[in-house]
């Protein structure tokens, strides 16, 4: 097994999926986390293109979170059984990201932030979850794509936990997705990671 080091801010952001994959695969990795100041002063200039996260595999850097997530998912068996499943996994992952990144994570005005958050849920996130809930309940399977847990399930779990912390009542119309979220969070590896990992606002 190579030596893995993830280098990223001390937030979920574009790094948490990578951490979740290591946890789900029960593979050790060095979880390097830095502040914004440390990024500007020290880390940024050491990266291939001035971006993070960066995954160092035996010291060789790989950046772009999608590339990192998909490489680890393929290596650890969370990327479907064939190319069609890979495409559907990427589709669910991408669709969820597209909607959840609209959340106003950086807004300073609390009232404005709350208003915007409600709008993003109402106009974007909940309609998407409704569509995914329907597809998933029609499928009558344990996981979003194929027969095994994939990074799409991890992504859904991560985001639904964030929604649960914000307002669990929003998830009431999606019982199958909630059941999937709970199935994933209780799997060996993830359970321990989620019990001890830092809770971040985003």
């Amino acid at each position: 097994m190579p030596h893995y080091k993830l280098s990223y801010f001390d937030i979920y952001g574009r790094g948490e999926m990578v951490r979740l994959l290591f946890a789900a695969a029960k593979v050790e990795f060095e979880d390097e986390r830095f502040t914004r100041e440390q990024w500007k002063e020290t880390y940024k200039k050491t990266t291939p293109f001035g971006y993070c996260p960066v995954l160092y595999i035996d010291g060789a850097p790989l950046c772009e979170s999608g590339a990192i997530v998909r490489l680890l998912a393929s290596k650890f068996g969370f990327n479907g059984a064939n190319t069609v499943e890979e495409a559907h996994i990427a589709m669910f992952n991408g669709a969820l990201r597209t909607m959840y990144v609209r959340l106003p994570n950086f807004d300073v005005d609390e009232q404005l932030k709350e208003e915007k958050t409600r709008v993003v849920y109402k106009d974007h996130i909940l309609p998407l979850l409704e569509k995914i809930e329907k597809k998933f309940s029609d499928k009558k399977a344990e996981f979003l794509v194929g027969e095994k847990m994939s990074y799409a399930d991890l992504r859904l779990m991560q985001y639904l936990i964030i929604t649960e912390r914000y307002d669990a009542s929003l998830l009431a119309p999606f019982p199958n997705l909630v059941a999937l979220k709970d199935r994933c969070r209780n799997t060996d590896g993830l359970k321990q990671y989620l019990a001890t990992s830092k809770i971040c606002p985003f």
Partner: protein
């Protein structure tokens, strides 16, 4: 071979790399392009209210990244192994990050020109210089591995745009420009580039 139909706006945007993949692979597809005015009616018919959507024997797949990675893998343009696929995705991602900063939606022509030049100087050129350096040191024909990948197609499309909008940066990128010219003259790609509609962006 399945039947393929791509549904997207009549612009390059998130559809162009998909169209280039079909061209480079010389695989037939229905290139369904619609105007912005048609979108409100079409939107609810899409799986997740978004485009592009690729119909593979009628089954829809959305999310442009999922689509182009799937096609690239099918057409042998996604590297020889998962690590090469990761590097291809990395290069594509960096190019996408810097080129998306361009002011595509800016209506004021003067402001658009200024911002386009600024984005090229502050974001695009620094990234391309890093890629140029690694690429010239590697002495390879393609950005990753030994074969054409979707990263090469992405670079080619982006540099063609730069040729039109900020050609002054190109002399610093001789190896990437040579790659662009090799790719733009490939059979299939050449014909597509000659016949594709002009973009309003």
């Amino acid at each position: 071979m399945p039947t393929y139909k791509l549904s997207y706006f009549n612009v390059p945007g998130r559809g162009e790399l998909i169209r280039l993949l079909f061209s480079a692979a010389k695989v037939e597809f229905e290139d369904h392009r619609f105007e912005f005015s048609e979108w409100p009616e079409l939107k609810s018919k899409m799986p997740f209210n978004q485009v592009p959507v690729l119909y593979i024997d009628g089954t829809p797949l959305c999310e442009s990244g999922a689509i182009f990675r799937y096609l690239a893998t099918e057409f042998g343009m996604n590297g020889a192994n998962s690590l090469q696929a990761a590097y291809i995705e990395m290069v594509h991602g960096v190019l996408h990050d810097v080129y998306s900063k361009l002011p595509f939606m800016e209506k004021d022509a003067k402001v658009k020109k200024e911002k386009t030049t600024a984005v090229h100087q502050e974001h695009i050129l620094p990234a391309l210089l890093k890629i140029e350096k690694k690429f010239s040191e590697s002495k390879r024909q393609y950005l990753v591995g030994d074969k054409l990948s979707y990263a090469d197609l992405k670079l080619t499309n982006n540099l063609i745009l730069t040729e039109e909008r900020a050609p002054e940066i190109l002399p610093q990128l001789p190896n990437l420009c040579a790659l662009r010219d090799r790719v733009r003259n490939l059979d299939g790609v050449k014909q597509y580039l000659a016949s594709r509609p002009e973009s309003i962006f």
